[in-house]
Symmetry: C2
Subunit: 116 residues, 2 copies
Amino acid sequence: MIRNFLTATPTDVPNCHDGEGTIQVVEIFDQFATAMPYFHYTVLPPGTSVGLHQHGNDEEFYVILEGNGIMTDEGQDKPVTAGDVIKNPPYGEHALVNISATEPLKMLVFEVPCTV
Amino acid sequence: MIRNFLTATPTDVPNCHDGEGTIQVVEIFDQFATAMPYFHYTVLPPGTSVGLHQHGNDEEFYVILEGNGIMTDEGQDKPVTAGDVIKNPPYGEHALVNISATEPLKMLVFEVPCTV
């Protein structure tokens, strides 16, 4: 099965995890043979963020495709840019802010439970 | 943990699954808290391919970032381009050819086992 996330129509998600503004999310697939709960293409317009939140017993991956942000990763604020993949550990806490005033931050986000 | 696949040094992999030529692979992470076996950034130079091969009880995802190819997906040859995500079903068989004479095909590849 093939889906294209660049041509799909995104859904507006306001205040994601109590973050700033409204981000756009494409649910690339909505069914999996595995326990993966989601696989998203997400765009953070300038001035928006995904708020600080804690995960359960899973690993979540953010794959930065375009743009520049600050990721709260393992308690530290770190700059992220295209090509960066952030692996959030089980029970880890993270957040992401688009720090550009003009450019969107575009990324892929997916999670894999540790019960797999 | 953050890794950048665009600045990492890739490894040459000749004749991947009996495919043509030598492709380049970056192992973005080599350890997971989950049962994910790998997460790769893979570049197929012009004229190269990943040969036809069958999977076990897992789902594998190819995320096309740049370039143009032909994916053998569920027994059919389908064109793929930037933004396409191909989900290979459990026990599915697939292959990928870079059909451009001049441009590399760049993608992310990861697999999730169906062990739950």
